[in-house]
Assembly symmetry: C2
Homo-oligomer: 324 residues x 2
């Protein structure tokens, strides 16, 4: 059986020079980073637990990707450039196949974003992956939840609801053909963090508020509304969906797009005079961006259909401590 | 039952202004910190798992203290000044009594060190506490594991072996009277991170290498020896012990002090011409410091008794993935 030290050395200590901002990486009591002078440090932690955030027996390669992706998505939602991350890992056993897959999935995404593993911890225990990520951005540029203003457009990156559709198929609530199953599985297990778009929105001063949608748009948007003390009107029929969800009945399409969860897309607000610049930022970052509503001075979130008529979808956000 | 948002708000979101280096604390996608210009950022993560690092039913107040203490101890071993931390918490249920105790233990120690909770995550799952801590120090001042030099003294802060003695009593391997039981329980459950001493050693350029002893001195010292490509002679009878362990038979005293684990004391190396300054740093920080050996050019760790005769104690460091 692998020892803790061999495990770290074999799977997580990389045989190459540390990155530009890393003075000392894995292997000491602390990692040492040299922050870029004048920049703010953005920090976020996410903990993923088996049977809660992923299924027992999940493909370790996809899991390695997803654990880092959800953290990169938090940096994207702030508009920060990735710098590095720590990984704390509780494992029931040191399984070489699992570790090989997990570390390959993790490092493929890390390398794509120039985000270095600088330290962490491994221990025996029920499977648990905790990543803390660091990024940088210029003071005053952060896309904060409390910065939405009445009159702002509400925008969404990419498409919504595919991860929820995959879950419905797994639960035999809907039937998908093989191609739609594969496409939605990809969206559930390998979300694409919108880092490049978030940076363009922040650096260019294009957006006011932003967050990443992890628990469903309607629930997550409420955080922006509450922090910013504003309301919104959301056109549920304008929510962007992928081809698989577009083929589903309208009621299900609306519900999964508005409150599906596990989307890891950005929801952001921006003044109307930035529309052209935002479309250009979407082009430049290879990310679809869609206008789906308006921020209002009046509190509350009003859902409307394509004709502007009110909708009552009976949606609930995801709560980790609610029953079920 | 408490929702995730209520839980964070009630127990972990504090009703006061953020600290000097915190631009944005708990409640957004990321926390924003303003690093002190010219300083390096020290980062460390520790994950504590029930039945591995603490017993099921552990007092939540002490657990809150210990989870942060082991992270502060990593900063101390680097010589860094605490800045802030993130907390990721998996809980089987949102138990108000547990959360109240845990958060009080955590914040009492955090406040004593001016170390602010800036963000984190909560989820349902087997009990798991993952803290990532941030500190700062001047470039070139870090107490790195690879910096020991032949001829250095080896020093220990505080006393060793008490946590291991408490464990032996719990396992009915030794009998302790009530006072010794209480004293060793305190050392096991509420270790004192040596932050002030570590900072004095680093800022004053007094020590070369350092680490904090979590898995037993003999095992942990090997990391300094390997990284620095040196050896050491360790006088096992010079290892500092508290009164409870001093009352035990010599063989057990030697074994628990040399390889007990859970000590969270500093082991550091320093040139002989710094002895007076190191004793003064110990005084100034209210921390006992004891010379216990010498770094050698020749590789390997040699254990000797008070008369300098070789000892073979058959010790093993703690490995999280070894059987048992």
């Amino acid at each position: 059986m692998l020892s803790e030290f061999d495990l770290i050395k074999r799977y997580f200590q990389r045989d190459r020079a540390p990155g530009a901002n890393t003075v000392l990486g894995v292997g000491d009591d602390c990692a040492l980073l040299a922050p870029t002078p004048g920049k703010l440090l953005a920090v976020s932690s996410d903990m993923l637990v088996e049977d809660r955030h992923f299924f027992a027996g999940a493909d370790p390669l996809l899991l390695g990707h997803k654990c880092l992706a959800v953290n990169l998505s938090d940096l994207a939602a702030m508009g920060a450039a990735p710098l590095g991350f720590t990984l704390a890992l509780a494992l029931p056993a040191a399984d070489p196949d699992w570790l090989d897959g997990f570390s390959r999935g993790l490092f493929a995404l890390a390398d794509a974003h120039g985000c270095e593993l600088v330290g962490g911890d491994t221990t025996k225990g029920p499977l648990n992956v905790c990543i803390t990520i660091f990024g940088e951005l210029a003071p005053g540029r952060a896309l904060r939840r409390d910065a939405a203003r009445a009159g702002d457009d509400v925008w969404i990156s990419g498409t919504l609801g595919d991860a929820r559709l995959w879950l419905a198929a797994r639960r035999s609530e809907v039937a998908l053909d093989a191609a739609d199953h594969a496409a939605t599985a990809q969206r559930m297990h390998a979300p694409t963090p919108r880092v490049a778009l978030g940076r363009l929105l922040a650096d260019g001063g294009l957006a006011h508020a932003a967050l990443d949608i992890s628990d469903g748009l309607v629930g997550d948007l409420q955080h922006i509304l509450a922090s910013s003390r504003v309301g919104a009107v959301l056109d549920v029929d304008a929510l962007p969906t992928g081809p698989a969800l577009a083929r589903q009945p309208r009621a299900l399409r609306r519900r999964f797009a508005a409150a599906g969860g596990d989307d890891y897309e950005l929801c952001f607000t921006a003044p109307a005079d930035k529309r052209a610049a935002i479309l250009a930022a979407g082009e430049a970052s290879g990310t679809a961006v869609t206008r789906v509503g308006t921020i209002t001075a009046e509190a509350g979130l009003r859902l409307v259909d394509g004709d502007g008529a009110g909708l009552d979808l009976q949606l609930a956000g995801w709560d980790h401590f609610s029953p079920g």
